[in-house]
Symmetry: C2
Subunit: 189 residues, 2 copies
Protein backbone atom coordinates (compact mmCIF):
# COMPACT_ATOMS: atom_id res chain seq x y z
CA UNK A 1 0.00 0.00 0.00
CA UNK A 2 1.25 3.46 -0.84
CA UNK A 3 2.05 5.81 2.01
CA UNK A 4 -0.62 8.45 2.23
CA UNK A 5 -1.23 11.65 4.15
CA UNK A 6 -4.21 13.92 4.63
CA UNK A 7 -3.95 17.63 3.95
CA UNK A 8 -6.78 19.79 5.31
CA UNK A 9 -6.62 23.34 4.00
CA UNK A 10 -7.70 26.64 5.58
CA UNK A 11 -10.48 25.33 7.82
CA UNK A 12 -10.06 28.32 10.14
CA UNK A 13 -12.72 30.31 11.97
CA UNK A 14 -12.11 33.39 9.78
CA UNK A 15 -12.99 31.39 6.67
CA UNK A 16 -15.62 29.00 7.99
CA UNK A 17 -17.79 30.57 10.69
CA UNK A 18 -20.95 32.32 9.50
CA UNK A 19 -20.34 36.08 9.52
CA UNK A 20 -16.58 35.56 9.62
CA UNK A 21 -14.67 38.36 7.89
CA UNK A 22 -13.69 36.08 5.00
CA UNK A 23 -16.48 33.53 5.19
CA UNK A 24 -16.31 31.14 2.26
CA UNK A 25 -19.75 30.05 1.13
CA UNK A 26 -19.66 26.29 1.07
CA UNK A 27 -17.19 25.91 3.93
CA UNK A 28 -19.73 25.29 6.68
CA UNK A 29 -21.51 22.43 5.00
CA UNK A 30 -18.38 20.38 4.29
CA UNK A 31 -17.47 20.12 8.00
CA UNK A 32 -19.16 16.74 8.56
CA UNK A 33 -17.34 15.20 5.61
CA UNK A 34 -13.97 16.66 6.62
CA UNK A 35 -14.59 15.21 10.09
CA UNK A 36 -15.25 11.78 8.57
CA UNK A 37 -12.06 11.87 6.52
CA UNK A 38 -10.07 13.12 9.49
CA UNK A 39 -11.49 10.33 11.68
CA UNK A 40 -10.53 7.78 9.01
CA UNK A 41 -6.92 9.00 8.90
CA UNK A 42 -6.71 9.12 12.69
CA UNK A 43 -8.12 5.62 12.97
CA UNK A 44 -5.45 4.31 10.58
CA UNK A 45 -2.65 6.44 12.06
CA UNK A 46 -1.82 8.00 8.69
CA UNK A 47 -0.08 11.39 8.89
CA UNK A 48 -2.34 14.43 9.01
CA UNK A 49 -1.40 17.95 7.96
CA UNK A 50 -3.38 21.02 8.91
CA UNK A 51 -2.27 23.62 6.38
CA UNK A 52 -3.57 27.08 7.07
CA UNK A 53 -2.99 30.78 6.68
CA UNK A 54 -1.36 33.29 8.93
CA UNK A 55 -0.80 36.94 8.06
CA UNK A 56 1.32 39.33 10.07
CA UNK A 57 -0.85 42.21 11.27
CA UNK A 58 1.10 44.79 9.24
CA UNK A 59 0.19 43.03 5.99
CA UNK A 60 3.81 42.36 5.08
CA UNK A 61 3.16 38.77 4.01
CA UNK A 62 -0.33 38.81 2.51
CA UNK A 63 -1.07 38.50 -1.20
CA UNK A 64 -0.89 41.85 -2.98
CA UNK A 65 -4.48 41.62 -4.22
CA UNK A 66 -5.73 41.32 -0.63
CA UNK A 67 -3.48 43.92 0.94
CA UNK A 68 -5.64 47.02 0.65
CA UNK A 69 -8.75 45.35 2.07
CA UNK A 70 -6.72 43.74 4.86
CA UNK A 71 -5.11 46.99 5.99
CA UNK A 72 -8.03 49.34 5.52
CA UNK A 73 -11.12 47.25 6.09
CA UNK A 74 -10.72 44.08 8.08
CA UNK A 75 -7.84 41.89 9.17
CA UNK A 76 -8.00 38.11 9.36
CA UNK A 77 -5.81 35.07 10.04
CA UNK A 78 -3.64 37.11 12.37
CA UNK A 79 -1.71 34.78 14.74
CA UNK A 80 -3.06 34.49 18.27
CA UNK A 81 -6.55 35.59 17.33
CA UNK A 82 -9.64 33.39 17.58
CA UNK A 83 -10.31 33.86 13.89
CA UNK A 84 -6.95 32.40 12.97
CA UNK A 85 -7.58 29.18 14.85
CA UNK A 86 -8.67 25.99 13.16
CA UNK A 87 -12.38 25.34 13.77
CA UNK A 88 -13.25 23.44 16.93
CA UNK A 89 -14.49 20.38 15.05
CA UNK A 90 -11.07 19.85 13.47
CA UNK A 91 -8.69 20.92 16.23
CA UNK A 92 -5.32 19.27 15.56
CA UNK A 93 -4.30 16.52 17.95
CA UNK A 94 -0.80 15.91 19.23
CA UNK A 95 1.33 14.35 16.53
CA UNK A 96 -0.52 16.06 13.70
CA UNK A 97 1.38 18.59 11.63
CA UNK A 98 0.61 22.29 11.47
CA UNK A 99 2.01 24.06 8.44
CA UNK A 100 1.50 27.80 7.98
CA UNK A 101 1.25 29.25 4.51
CA UNK A 102 0.98 32.81 3.20
CA UNK A 103 -0.06 32.06 -0.35
CA UNK A 104 -2.60 29.89 -2.17
CA UNK A 105 -0.54 26.74 -2.50
CA UNK A 106 0.30 24.80 0.62
CA UNK A 107 3.66 24.06 -0.97
CA UNK A 108 4.72 27.62 -1.78
CA UNK A 109 7.54 28.66 0.53
CA UNK A 110 6.55 26.24 3.27
CA UNK A 111 8.11 23.12 4.75
CA UNK A 112 5.27 20.88 3.53
CA UNK A 113 7.27 19.15 0.81
CA UNK A 114 10.27 18.64 3.12
CA UNK A 115 8.15 16.73 5.61
CA UNK A 116 6.11 14.72 3.11
CA UNK A 117 9.32 13.54 1.47
CA UNK A 118 10.90 12.60 4.81
CA UNK A 119 7.80 10.58 5.68
CA UNK A 120 7.94 8.79 2.30
CA UNK A 121 4.45 9.95 1.45
CA UNK A 122 3.47 9.20 -2.12
CA UNK A 123 -0.26 9.90 -2.07
CA UNK A 124 -1.69 13.13 -0.69
CA UNK A 125 -5.39 13.39 0.03
CA UNK A 126 -6.69 16.95 -0.03
CA UNK A 127 -9.81 18.65 1.30
CA UNK A 128 -10.90 21.99 2.80
CA UNK A 129 -11.50 25.39 1.20
CA UNK A 130 -11.73 26.62 -1.37
CA UNK A 131 -11.82 24.96 -4.78
CA UNK A 132 -10.48 27.62 -7.14
CA UNK A 133 -7.79 29.06 -4.92
CA UNK A 134 -5.89 27.20 -2.21
CA UNK A 135 -7.23 23.76 -3.06
CA UNK A 136 -6.46 23.99 -6.73
CA UNK A 137 -3.07 25.63 -6.24
CA UNK A 138 -2.04 22.93 -3.76
CA UNK A 139 -3.37 20.15 -5.99
CA UNK A 140 -1.50 21.43 -9.03
CA UNK A 141 1.75 21.85 -7.11
CA UNK A 142 1.28 18.39 -5.61
CA UNK A 143 1.02 16.85 -9.08
CA UNK A 144 3.97 18.94 -10.29
CA UNK A 145 6.03 17.67 -7.36
CA UNK A 146 5.29 14.05 -8.30
CA UNK A 147 2.71 13.13 -5.67
CA UNK A 148 -0.34 11.06 -6.48
CA UNK A 149 -3.13 13.43 -5.57
CA UNK A 150 -6.61 12.56 -4.38
CA UNK A 151 -9.25 15.22 -3.89
CA UNK A 152 -12.24 14.54 -1.65
CA UNK A 153 -14.91 16.34 -3.64
CA UNK A 154 -17.61 16.72 -1.00
CA UNK A 155 -15.12 17.59 1.75
CA UNK A 156 -13.97 20.54 -0.32
CA UNK A 157 -15.87 23.82 -0.56
CA UNK A 158 -16.59 26.41 -3.21
CA UNK A 159 -18.78 29.47 -3.46
CA UNK A 160 -21.06 27.73 -5.96
CA UNK A 161 -21.61 24.24 -7.31
CA UNK A 162 -20.66 25.49 -10.78
CA UNK A 163 -17.26 26.66 -9.58
CA UNK A 164 -16.68 23.32 -7.86
CA UNK A 165 -17.66 21.35 -10.96
CA UNK A 166 -15.52 23.40 -13.31
CA UNK A 167 -12.49 22.96 -11.08
CA UNK A 168 -13.06 19.23 -10.72
CA UNK A 169 -13.09 18.88 -14.51
CA UNK A 170 -9.74 20.65 -14.75
CA UNK A 171 -8.18 18.62 -11.94
CA UNK A 172 -9.41 15.30 -13.34
CA UNK A 173 -7.87 16.31 -16.63
CA UNK A 174 -4.40 16.46 -15.11
CA UNK A 175 -4.76 13.06 -13.47
CA UNK A 176 -6.12 13.88 -10.03
CA UNK A 177 -8.36 11.26 -8.45
CA UNK A 178 -11.60 13.06 -7.49
CA UNK A 179 -13.80 11.01 -5.19
CA UNK A 180 -16.41 11.66 -2.54
CA UNK A 181 -16.09 10.97 1.16
CA UNK A 182 -18.10 7.77 1.44
CA UNK A 183 -16.55 6.27 -1.67
CA UNK A 184 -13.07 7.08 -0.38
CA UNK A 185 -13.67 5.64 3.05
CA UNK A 186 -15.53 2.62 1.71
CA UNK A 187 -12.93 1.99 -0.96
CA UNK A 188 -10.09 2.05 1.52
CA UNK A 189 -11.65 -0.17 4.12
CA UNK B 1 18.98 56.06 -0.23
CA UNK B 2 18.20 52.44 -0.91
CA UNK B 3 15.86 50.62 1.42
CA UNK B 4 17.80 48.24 3.59
CA UNK B 5 17.06 45.52 6.09
CA UNK B 6 19.14 43.56 8.57
CA UNK B 7 19.07 39.77 8.59
CA UNK B 8 20.55 38.08 11.67
CA UNK B 9 20.93 34.34 11.20
CA UNK B 10 20.76 31.48 13.72
CA UNK B 11 21.93 33.35 16.83
CA UNK B 12 20.12 30.85 19.06
CA UNK B 13 21.20 29.39 22.36
CA UNK B 14 21.73 25.94 20.84
CA UNK B 15 24.31 27.35 18.42
CA UNK B 16 25.89 30.11 20.48
CA UNK B 17 26.12 29.21 24.16
CA UNK B 18 29.31 27.44 25.27
CA UNK B 19 28.59 23.71 25.67
CA UNK B 20 25.42 24.03 23.59
CA UNK B 21 24.61 20.84 21.66
CA UNK B 22 25.52 22.45 18.35
CA UNK B 23 27.88 25.16 19.55
CA UNK B 24 29.50 26.95 16.62
CA UNK B 25 33.06 27.98 17.39
CA UNK B 26 33.23 31.64 16.57
CA UNK B 27 29.62 32.42 17.46
CA UNK B 28 30.25 33.72 20.97
CA UNK B 29 32.85 36.31 20.04
CA UNK B 30 30.74 37.99 17.36
CA UNK B 31 27.95 38.90 19.79
CA UNK B 32 29.25 42.43 20.54
CA UNK B 33 29.44 43.24 16.83
CA UNK B 34 26.01 41.82 16.09
CA UNK B 35 24.70 43.93 18.97
CA UNK B 36 26.28 47.04 17.43
CA UNK B 37 24.75 46.38 14.03
CA UNK B 38 21.39 45.61 15.60
CA UNK B 39 21.52 48.85 17.61
CA UNK B 40 22.33 50.78 14.43
CA UNK B 41 19.33 49.33 12.59
CA UNK B 42 17.06 49.93 15.57
CA UNK B 43 18.28 53.51 15.90
CA UNK B 44 17.46 54.17 12.24
CA UNK B 45 14.19 52.21 12.31
CA UNK B 46 15.26 49.99 9.42
CA UNK B 47 13.50 46.60 9.27
CA UNK B 48 15.14 43.79 11.20
CA UNK B 49 14.74 40.07 10.51
CA UNK B 50 15.67 37.36 12.96
CA UNK B 51 15.98 34.27 10.78
CA UNK B 52 16.48 31.09 12.73
CA UNK B 53 15.99 27.36 12.81
CA UNK B 54 13.25 25.25 14.21
CA UNK B 55 13.05 21.47 13.90
CA UNK B 56 10.05 19.38 14.83
CA UNK B 57 11.03 16.93 17.55
CA UNK B 58 10.38 13.89 15.33
CA UNK B 59 13.02 15.06 12.84
CA UNK B 60 10.55 15.32 9.98
CA UNK B 61 11.89 18.67 8.78
CA UNK B 62 15.63 18.54 9.49
CA UNK B 63 18.30 18.18 6.81
CA UNK B 64 18.93 14.54 5.92
CA UNK B 65 22.61 14.74 6.85
CA UNK B 66 21.69 15.79 10.39
CA UNK B 67 18.81 13.40 10.93
CA UNK B 68 20.58 10.45 12.49
CA UNK B 69 22.50 12.54 15.02
CA UNK B 70 19.36 14.52 15.85
CA UNK B 71 17.20 11.48 16.51
CA UNK B 72 19.76 9.26 18.19
CA UNK B 73 22.13 11.59 19.96
CA UNK B 74 20.89 15.06 20.77
CA UNK B 75 18.02 17.24 19.63
CA UNK B 76 18.28 20.99 19.15
CA UNK B 77 16.25 23.94 17.92
CA UNK B 78 13.03 22.29 19.00
CA UNK B 79 10.26 24.90 19.42
CA UNK B 80 9.44 25.96 22.96
CA UNK B 81 12.83 24.90 24.35
CA UNK B 82 15.39 27.29 25.82
CA UNK B 83 17.95 26.15 23.27
CA UNK B 84 15.73 27.22 20.39
CA UNK B 85 15.41 30.77 21.67
CA UNK B 86 17.43 33.62 20.27
CA UNK B 87 20.23 34.59 22.68
CA UNK B 88 19.31 37.12 25.35
CA UNK B 89 21.57 39.83 23.92
CA UNK B 90 19.63 39.85 20.66
CA UNK B 91 16.07 39.18 21.80
CA UNK B 92 13.72 40.45 19.09
CA UNK B 93 11.72 43.57 19.93
CA UNK B 94 8.13 44.21 18.93
CA UNK B 95 7.94 45.10 15.27
CA UNK B 96 10.95 42.99 14.32
CA UNK B 97 10.35 39.99 12.07
CA UNK B 98 10.86 36.39 13.07
CA UNK B 99 11.26 33.99 10.19
CA UNK B 100 11.71 30.28 10.81
CA UNK B 101 13.75 28.20 8.41
CA UNK B 102 14.49 24.46 8.17
CA UNK B 103 17.36 24.58 5.72
CA UNK B 104 20.61 26.51 5.23
CA UNK B 105 19.26 29.42 3.22
CA UNK B 106 16.95 31.87 4.93
CA UNK B 107 15.08 32.08 1.64
CA UNK B 108 14.44 28.38 1.09
CA UNK B 109 10.75 27.64 1.60
CA UNK B 110 10.21 30.60 3.91
CA UNK B 111 8.26 33.85 3.66
CA UNK B 112 11.44 35.98 3.80
CA UNK B 113 11.37 37.03 0.14
CA UNK B 114 7.64 37.79 0.29
CA UNK B 115 8.15 40.27 3.11
CA UNK B 116 11.35 41.88 1.80
CA UNK B 117 9.63 42.54 -1.53
CA UNK B 118 6.55 43.99 0.14
CA UNK B 119 8.75 46.35 2.17
CA UNK B 120 10.61 47.43 -0.98
CA UNK B 121 13.90 46.31 0.47
CA UNK B 122 16.74 46.44 -2.06
CA UNK B 123 19.76 45.97 0.20
CA UNK B 124 20.01 43.15 2.71
CA UNK B 125 22.68 43.25 5.39
CA UNK B 126 23.60 39.84 6.73
CA UNK B 127 25.36 38.60 9.85
CA UNK B 128 25.25 35.69 12.32
CA UNK B 129 26.41 32.08 12.00
CA UNK B 130 27.95 30.39 10.27
CA UNK B 131 30.01 31.37 7.23
CA UNK B 132 30.03 28.23 5.09
CA UNK B 133 26.48 27.09 5.69
CA UNK B 134 23.53 29.33 6.50
CA UNK B 135 25.33 32.61 5.89
CA UNK B 136 26.68 31.65 2.52
CA UNK B 137 23.48 29.93 1.35
CA UNK B 138 21.43 32.99 2.29
CA UNK B 139 23.92 35.37 0.67
CA UNK B 140 23.97 33.43 -2.59
CA UNK B 141 20.17 33.18 -2.72
CA UNK B 142 19.96 36.90 -1.92
CA UNK B 143 22.17 37.74 -4.90
CA UNK B 144 20.27 35.31 -7.08
CA UNK B 145 16.99 36.98 -6.08
CA UNK B 146 18.34 40.40 -7.13
CA UNK B 147 19.10 41.95 -3.77
CA UNK B 148 22.20 44.00 -3.14
CA UNK B 149 23.89 42.01 -0.40
CA UNK B 150 26.18 43.31 2.32
CA UNK B 151 27.95 40.94 4.68
CA UNK B 152 29.25 42.21 8.01
CA UNK B 153 32.45 40.21 8.21
CA UNK B 154 33.23 40.51 11.92
CA UNK B 155 29.60 40.05 12.96
CA UNK B 156 29.60 36.68 11.20
CA UNK B 157 31.12 33.54 12.68
CA UNK B 158 33.03 30.53 11.42
CA UNK B 159 34.80 27.61 13.00
CA UNK B 160 38.19 28.98 11.90
CA UNK B 161 39.60 32.18 10.42
CA UNK B 162 40.63 30.23 7.33
CA UNK B 163 37.08 29.12 6.65
CA UNK B 164 35.84 32.67 7.09
CA UNK B 165 38.48 34.07 4.74
CA UNK B 166 37.89 31.48 2.04
CA UNK B 167 34.14 32.17 2.11
CA UNK B 168 34.65 35.94 2.00
CA UNK B 169 36.77 35.56 -1.14
CA UNK B 170 34.02 33.57 -2.85
CA UNK B 171 31.30 36.01 -1.80
CA UNK B 172 33.28 39.07 -2.90
CA UNK B 173 33.76 37.36 -6.24
CA UNK B 174 30.02 37.29 -6.89
CA UNK B 175 29.63 40.96 -5.99
CA UNK B 176 28.80 40.90 -2.30
CA UNK B 177 29.95 43.90 -0.27
CA UNK B 178 32.01 42.51 2.62
CA UNK B 179 32.69 45.08 5.30
CA UNK B 180 33.39 45.10 9.03
CA UNK B 181 31.11 46.48 11.72
CA UNK B 182 32.80 49.78 12.44
CA UNK B 183 33.32 50.56 8.78
CA UNK B 184 29.67 49.81 8.07
CA UNK B 185 28.35 51.93 10.88
CA UNK B 186 30.80 54.74 10.21
CA UNK B 187 30.16 54.67 6.49
CA UNK B 188 26.44 54.93 6.93
CA UNK B 189 26.39 57.69 9.48
Amino acid sequence: MKHKALIIIDMQNDFVLPNAPQCVDGALNIIPNVEKILAYFREHSFPIFHVYREYRANGSDIEKTRLDDFLNHQKYCVPNTHGCEIIDELTPMDGEYRVVKNRFSGFMNTELDFILKRLNIQNIVICGVQYPNCIRATVFDGVALDYDVTLITDATGAKTEEIAKANIVDMKNIGVSCINTNAYIGKKK
